[in-house]
Symmetry: C2
Subunit: 229 residues, 2 copies
DNA sequence: ATATAGCGTGTATTTTTTACACTAAGTAAT
DNA sequence: ATTACTTAGTGTAAAAAATACACGCTATAT
C-alpha cells in the first residue's frame, strides 16, 4: 500500500523571508552561500524538508537552526515550482515569511553549514540573489504589505513594549509612505487593542514617550469584525 | 551536478477547488473516486505533478483534462504538507482555486480514469471529503472571500454579458450576506469598469435587465489604486 | 537658563457608507 | 385589453470614516 505512488526524484524545500525591524528600517536576513550552486551568492535562508516533518515544522526548525529562536511568527505564503528554478534538479520551494523582534540586545547569530555568513540587509538595498530568490522576496514583501492592513502583524516586529511612534514607523516603512501622526494615533487607539502601560521610555535623549502593549485578548474579542489598521 | 540532491520518495500533487456559479448558487466540482485510497469517496479534483511541468502548467493541464476547457482563471493559494495527509506516502499538495463560467449550454463533462463520476455540488451542502480536502476547500473558500473584495474575480464566474443583479448575486453568495441593491449598483458603477452594452436580456420572463460587460482595459488603467468592490 | 528634539493633542472639511421604498417595464394568464 | 405578477431601476438624507492641518509640552543635554 505504501508503494503505489510513483517515485519521482523530487524534493521540497522551504525558503524564508525573515523580516526584522531595526532603527527605523525594515531588514531581511540574507545568507552568503558557501556551497554550490550559487556559491558566494547571497540567498534567502532555506533548506530541504525532511521526510518526517510537516511544512510548518520544517519552517520552524530551519528558522531555529538559523537564529536560535523559537516562537517566531511565520506564515506560509506561496510555493515556487518552476521546473528549472534549481540547477540540480526538481526542487519545489514553499515560501514562508517570518517576523522578528530585533531587540538591541537580542542579536541574531545565524550559524549554518552551508552559509559563510549571514547579514541583515535593508529591503531597499538588496544585492542580487541566488536562484529565484528575488521573486520570492518580492512576493513576500507584497504579502506583508497586504496583510499589515488587516492583521495585527506589525506588533511582531516590535518589542513587547513600544511607543506609538515606533508603531507608526513600522507601518510607514512597510507601506512605503508617510502617515499623518494625529490620524494614525487616533485610528490605532480607536480599535481598543493597545494597552497603555502608564510607563515611559527610559534612557532616551529628549522627551520619553508612553509605552503601549498589544492586547491579544482584546483583539481576540474583535474577531470576525474586519479591522483596517 | 544533477546528482547532489537527496532523493526522497516524495511527490507533489495539485488539488483544485473549481468554483462555478449557476442559478444563484456557488458550486464546486467534486469527483467520486474509483481508486484506492478513499475509493467511492468524494474528493476535490487533483492529480500528480509531472516531472517536466511547472506547478501552474500542471494545474492548467489537470483542469483541462477534467473539463476540456482552457483559459480558466486560476490562482495558487496554499500548500498542504502534513506528513500523513496521504495514506500512501509523502505527498505535498499545492492547492489552486479556479473560477468558471457555468453557462447553461456549456455543460462541463469531466472524464478521468480515477473518477467514477463528477458532480457540481453547492458549497453549502457538501458531502464528507477524502484526504484533507475539507480543509483545502475551506481555505480556498476563505481566499475567494477575501479576494473578491479587492480583485475583479466575480466576473470570472459570470458569462461575458451579465446583469447587475447577477453580479450582486455572486457577491452575496460568496460573502454570504445580503447586500443593498441601490448601494451595490451605485458603488459598482462608480468604479467605471463596467461597460453598459445598451442591450437587454432576452428570453426571460418578466422585465429584461440591462447587460453589462467587465471592461478589462479600464480596469488596467486603475491599477495601483486599491479598489474595494 | 536655555536650546533641542521628539511627544502629544483637536477641529473642521470632505468622502464614503449606510439606510431606506416606490414607480416602471415587461410577461403571462384570462 | 385588462389584470396580476415579477423583476428592473432610481435618489436622498443621515451617519461614519478619512483627511488635512500646526503648535505648545516636556524631558534631556549643555
Amino acid at each position: 500500500m505504501k508503494e503505489v505512488l510513483p517515485k519521482f526524484n523530487s524534493t521540497f524545500s522551504i525558503d524564508c523571508v525573515l523580516f526584522g525591524f531595526d532603527e527605523g528600517e525594515l531588514k531581511i536576513l540574507l545568507i552568503e552561500r558557501n556551497e554550490e550552486p550559487f556559491k558566494d551568492w547571497w540567498a534567502l535562508p532555506g533548506n530541504l524538508v525532511e521526510e518526517d516533518e510537516s511544512l510548518d515544522q520544517s519552517a520552524t526548525r530551519i528558522l531555529h537552526e538559523l537564529t536560535g529562536l523559537s516562537d517566531i511568527y511565520m506564515e506560509q505564503y506561496y510555493t515556487f515550482g518552476d521546473v528549472n528554478r534549481h540547477p540540480q534538479g526538481r526542487v519545489v520551494s514553499i515560501a514562508y515569511y517570518a517576523l522578528l523582534r530585533l531587540g538591541g540586545d537580542k542579536i541574531v547569530k545565524p550559524i549554518s553549514n552551508y552559509a559563510k555568513q549571514a547579514y541583515w540587509r535593508n529591503v531597499k538595498d538588496l544585492p542580487r540573489l541566488a536562484f529565484d530568490h528575488q521573486q520570492i522576496f518580492e512576493k513576500g514583501m507584497e504579502k506583508i504589505k497586504r496583510r499589515i492592513k488587516h492583521q495585527p502583524i506589525a506588533f511582531e516586529l516590535l518589542p513587547e513594549k513600544f511607543t506609538l511612534t515606533q508603531l507608526q514607523n513600522v507601518y510607514e516603512v512597510i507601506l512605503n509612505k508617510k502617515l499623518d501622526k494625529r490620524n494614525f494615533r487616533k485610528k490605532m487607539l480607536s480599535f481598543g487593542v493597545l494597552r497603555d502601560l502608564n510607563e515611559k521610555q527610559y534612557g532616551v535623549s529628549f522627551r520619553a514617550a508612553t509605552l503601549y502593549k498589544f492586547d491579544k485578548r482584546k483583539y481576540a474579542k474583535l474577531f470576525g469584525k474586519e479591522i483596517s489598521f
